[in-house]
Amino acid sequence: MTVTALPGRVVSDETVPARAAWSGFVRRGQLLTVTDLYGNQAADFLVYDAHDTSVRYSAPDTVQAQGNVFLTTGSVLLSNEHTPLMTVVDDTCGRHDTLGGACSKESNTLRYGHHTWSQHACVENFLSEGARHGLGKRDLVSNINWFMNVPVEKDGTLGIVDGISAPGLKVVLRAETDVLALLSNCPQINNPCNGFDPTAVRMTITDAAGSEEDGTR
């Protein structure tokens, strides 16, 4: 599976296998492209100020400021100090989730039963990948789920339902400050967040064409 039309010069380009984690530093002005290579794959995502990781993505601040629980082009990912971390500058999927958070072995025991304890989970990915950067459990907060579909009914009923993504769909994020991004390519096999079949995603960091840094913008 190839992806065309990546914006700008490629700084890093990695395929994250099914169930695996990824992290990367994205400098201010650079673009991070998350590509759903095979379709319908939830990509759990957290982002931190690279220079002060106590400033990190805040789902409530992001929802509060944009007045909507779904993310798409134009959405600004705000920190817990209400400062911009990244902006969605392109989105070919249409909407992404701010509410569902990450799966964990612990929450899986509630959602499906204790038989799921031995299965993979996103929190394990966040912890092991975050630990490489000095982050720990205290640093995990409600995350974004790219490509995941979580509607809210009139009576408040919400749930993860069949995805609306397809192979090759992508979301492009511009870093508004230097950030550390963490990804868990969701291994959940008990709900439709990835069609019960985890697949690979691609994480690409590019310098925006004509970036501020090279003085051509």
């Binding site: 990781t53 106590s54 805040s58 789902a59 409530p60 601040d61 929802v63 509060q64 400021a65 007045g67 909507n68 629980v69 779904f70 817990n80 100090e81 209400h82 400062t83 909407r95 509410l99 569902g100 958070g101 990450a102 964990s104 072995k105 612990e106 929450s107 899986n108 025991t109 509630l110 959602r111 039963g113 204790h114 929190v123 720990g136 459990k137 205290r138 640093d139 995990l140 907060v141 409600s142 995350n143 509607p151 809210v152 009139k154 009576d155 408040g156 009923t157 919400l158 749930g159 993860i160």
Partner: protein
Amino acid sequence: MGTPSAPPSATASTHGARQHARAQDGTTADAMPVVPASDWPEPPEGVAAGDVVWAGTVAGGGYTHKVLARGTELRLTDLTGDACAHLLLHSADRPWERLNTADTVKVLWNAYLGKGHLLLSDQGRVLASVTEDTSGRHDALTGTSTLARNTARYGDGTPQSASPAGRELFKLAALKNGLAPRDLPPSVSFFQGVRIAEDGTTEFIGSADAGASVTLRAEQDVTVLLANVPHPLDPRPEYTCGNLRVLAYRSRPTAPGDALWDAAPEGRRAFLNTVDHLTARGLA
């Protein structure tokens, strides 16, 4: 040498200053803690005065915090219709186990807090359950206010200004419990409602009315952090927040056989996980 005609100030000496300070004993204020809590004159119906363990009133723009034992019920009352109780819960002696709003809405399949909802930790356990609710207007999605937002909206958001931000007050409450800003996950709030339209838009629906109350039951020993500040989506241009009544009293945790224990399979497993954890520790 001072002016000969000026009378000596009553507080110019240590003895005078002490007498002046001590003369304040017994003064009351509109918003204050009642200590001991058993002095609270109006315990809830069926609750003995001696079982009240936390009582008082939190001013609009104020905060408070307390460690509550498992089985304690915490009743919050919006006295004016303009209170908004922003709440965080941490396991009292293991604060890295704390409220997880995503699991709280996802596991219970509902975005709106109300009677029967469980406030879940990130460890698949219950921190507190909502046992009574006369408001029905709460919010688990849009969090509290920040210094940046309050500064933009009201001109200031620092803790001791006229328009303190919820996150700034949470930081102080956290620090007083040995925690740090990174220990503050997304919070929930009570008494000012938010609803989500089909297209994902947030709608602020405000408060039910003066006198609405919500009762939480601690299902583990928990550290309660409470900030009473305007909801971040409250459209009113003036910083508007009324007094919040806080009342906690001894009760018992949810147990097998209680309706709430079996209300949902996800909740039953959360209660089972909680008791399993406490049993292993010799606490249940």
